[in-house]
Amino acid sequence: TVGAVALDSAGHLAAATSTGGYTNKPAGRVGDSPIIGAGTYARDGACAVSGTGQGEFFIRHVVGHEIASRIDYLDESLEHAAGKLIHLDLARYNIGAGLVAVDAKGNIAAPFNTDGMFRGWITPDGDLSVASHREVFFVERL
């Protein structure tokens, strides 16, 4: 699964996700990526989210919308809300799960519970970094 989240200079958020599902999945199976609110979600003022992992659980927990709601209604930080979903709410299922998210201030979160996640980000000051395991590689300042 791949995905992207962004905050633009007008303060708008967006999210996109694309996937082949998983190897040997039953024909006709649909995961969370195309389910708005689960694997893909964006709401101005809150956050944009794209997920990766066993989609059935992302759908049950409506992960993207849940993170946005926690930010909106409980005033949780992006890092806290996204981290709780991955490391607490989904932890009991013993599934691989991760996501990237950005909030209205440009804060970025990329929690995952596996030993790695392909990921990368560009911070508001233009620093581009990528990673696959725990180590993060700074690439360049744009």
Partner: protein
């Protein structure tokens, strides 16, 4: 200028079991950087977040190193069924497609639906037809297949026949 930001992912898993060579790791990380640059070009020129996420995802769909587009996982019937979605936080407009088989970049089909505005989600052959009717690039399903995905499917199905599917590695299950 107000802050802009961009983040991407290319899937999570037990990386030690993926069997990628050092060169493949480096190529994958280089493709991540390319996807970020594609999105950043849009944002740094004052463009829309919606266009930036689409630009970034297209690069990842075109890379053989990730499970989307070219390089996508195969289902139990040895076919590709691709899913994608895109959402605009400003308007809550969204588009999504599922189980598509012939759209080179499924995220473009999702975007076409978002722009259309009358439907939110299309699935299966109807989504493929919709994309074709809207001028999106259509490819043969084998465009999406890489040798790695074929090998992974064969391994998984061998595990099933042997009754050892539960012991299959994360890489074998999820590619």
């Amino acid at each position: 200028m107000k802050p802009i930001a961009l983040a991407i992912h290319g899937g999570c898993g037990v990386m030690a079991q993926t069997g990628l060579s050092q060169q493949e790791w480096e190529e994958a990380r280089a493709d991540l950087a390319s996807a970020l640059r594609a999105g950043w070009v849009v944002l740094s020129k004052g463009g829309r977040a919606l266009d930036a996420v689409q630009a970034a995802v297209i690069v990842l769909e075109d890379s053989p190193h990730f499970n989307a587009g070219h390089g996508a996982a195969l289902n139990a019937e040895g076919e590709h069924e691709l899913d994608s979605a895109i959402m605009d936080g400003a308007t809550l407009a969204a588009g999504s497609v599922s189980a598509v088989r012939r759209i080179r970049n499924p995220v473009k089909a999702a975007r076409a639906l978002l722009e259309d505005g009358s439907l939110l989600m299309l699935t299966g052959p109807a989504a493929d037809r919709y994309a074709e009717e809207h001028g999106l690039e259509i490819v043969s399903p084998d465009y999406f297949t890489t040798q790695r995905r074929t090998d992974t499917l064969k391994t998984m199905q061998a595990h099933e026949r042997a009754g050892t599917a539960a012991s299959a590695s994360e890489a074998e299950k999820h590619g």
